[in-house]
């Protein structure tokens, strides 16, 4: 299995695909897809990005480049994507509405597509209070839904929001996030539908540590046949200890970790191994849930363990690894 985005084969467009990227092809061929989040460095050295990306070589279909996640300053998602594109990686560029207005965002979308970004994840973004620059002015000129609508318009109608035409529209596969684990619980399914209506083709969820809750949500997804309109990749994490899980639960907005997970980590002799086991079990459970198209691994500070976890889970067993 290769890691590299196949360039368009001269004939231009791939039939029925909205991007030329690997992720869309894997999902459309009904294979269980894996994406992973790359923690952007606090550094201006490209090698710091490549070092982190190499950890995912041969085991993921795309690498997510986060856009100031948690409202903390790091290398930008555009910058990370620019570097990764030089080495042929397949990327999901995350775009949030917190730091840039519509002028900046539309410009970034064109620039990113020109560099070879084929997947864009449209997010609202965490509030500035969550990060290390709480004194910053929040922008929020768009929200995730109006952002999706804007990028879809650029791609499908070949014009900016102002209707000024684009000579070459960006060929991107559009993503959005959903959080089935927070209130208002009976509204989340409608929010998902609204995002799909606005243009979302794939979904990456918030961390799933509560499978029964996810099952409930997926039953609603299937009832409304939303899994036929968008590919749902469920977010999974690799907890390191009960303390860190507790800290994350308190400090990361929208993160739901049931007490049972924390107790399990507490009881374990080797909490790091237990965390990996939780991740393996979650991946295996996800593969069997109808309507789940893949997993999105956010292994903060445990990126080095991702390849092993995917291997042990066997979710890619039908594909040739490495």
């Amino acid at each position: 299995m290769t890691h590299i985005d196949a360039p368009p084969d001269g004939s231009g467009e791939l039939r029925g695909l909205s991007s030329d990227g690997r992720l869309e092809r894997v999902l459309k061929s009904s294979q269980f897809a894996i994406t992973a989040e790359l923690a952007p460095p606090d550094s201006a050295d490209p090698e710091d990005v490549y070092e982190r990306a190499r950890l995912f070589d041969g085991c993921v279909d795309a690498i997510n480049a986060t856009d100031g996640s948690g409202a903390n300053c790091h290398m930008s998602s555009v910058g990370v994507c620019a570097l990764l594109s030089r080495q042929g990686y397949s990327m999901v560029m995350q775009v949030t509405c917190r730091d840039r207005n519509r002028i900046a965002i539309q410009g970034d979308v064109l620039g990113a597509a020109a560099m070879g970004v084929t997947n864009i994840l449209c997010l609202t973004g965490d509030g500035v209070q969550a990060g290390d620059e709480p004194e910053a002015k929040p922008v929020f000129d768009l929200d995730s839904v109006s952002l999706l609508r804007a990028v879809r318009m650029m791609r499908d109608d070949a014009h900016f929001l102002t209707r000024r035409p684009l000579s070459t529209p960006p060929r991107v596969f559009l993503g959005a996030s959903v959080n089935p684990f927070v209130p208002p619980h009976d509204f989340q399914i409608h929010k998902l539908e609204k995002k799909i209506d606005a243009g979302a083709q794939f979904i990456q969820t918030q961390y799933c540590y509560d499978l029964p809750m996810l099952e409930d949500f997926m039953a609603q997804v299937r009832a409304r046949e939303l899994h036929r309109r968008a590919y749902i990749l469920v977010g999974v994490g690799v907890p390191s200890s009960a303390q860190s899980a507790r800290w994350m639960r308190e400090h990361i907005p929208g993160l739901h970790i049931p007490d049972s997970i924390i107790e399990r980590l507490e009881r374990a002799g080797e909490p790091r191994d237990e965390g990996a086991r939780i991740c393996v079990e979650t991946l295996q459970a996800l593969r069997d849930i109808e309507g789940v198209a893949g997993a999105h691994i956010m292994a903060y500070k445990r990126e080095a363990d991702v390849a092993g976890i995917i291997d042990r889970s066997g979710v890619l067993a039908d594909r040739e690894l490495r």
Binding site: Q129, D143, V145, R149, V182, D186, K191, K194
Partner: protein, 157 residues
Amino acid sequence: MYAVRRWSVRHARAMEILYAGFERVLIAMQPLFRLIGYERLEKPVALVERGVKGLLFDCRMCGDCILSSTGMSCPMNCPKQMRNGPCGGVRADGYCEVKPDMRCVWVDAWEGSKRMRRGTRIHQVQPQLDARLQGRSSWLRVVREEKTRMTGTVSGQ
């Protein structure tokens, strides 16, 4: 005021009926508005609108009111000014990620919508806001748009 704002959401159905009547009156007054001139009316009407909606909804005068689509809970009170539903950071108790003492305006919006006759409007995709409208009257805009809709001078509305 926060307490009044919450009260308005609890009475979203009554607000909906009240506004529907008010909108009919506004549109009926169109010839008068045209006679006086919309620009001349802008400041005094915006002042009244700010007073009334400020009291009832903590209105921020975005100039493009969508209260009828948001369960009578003003989305501009969301710290992220989300106009298409809640963000993923809502706390387990239904309170705001940014302001822990405030209930998520979208948790309220969803409850308000369920009380309204045309509550399904909450599912419509709302495009981005025109920042130039900030501080201007939504009421006058409704009347003007109704005029253009009826005379067909502007298409695509």
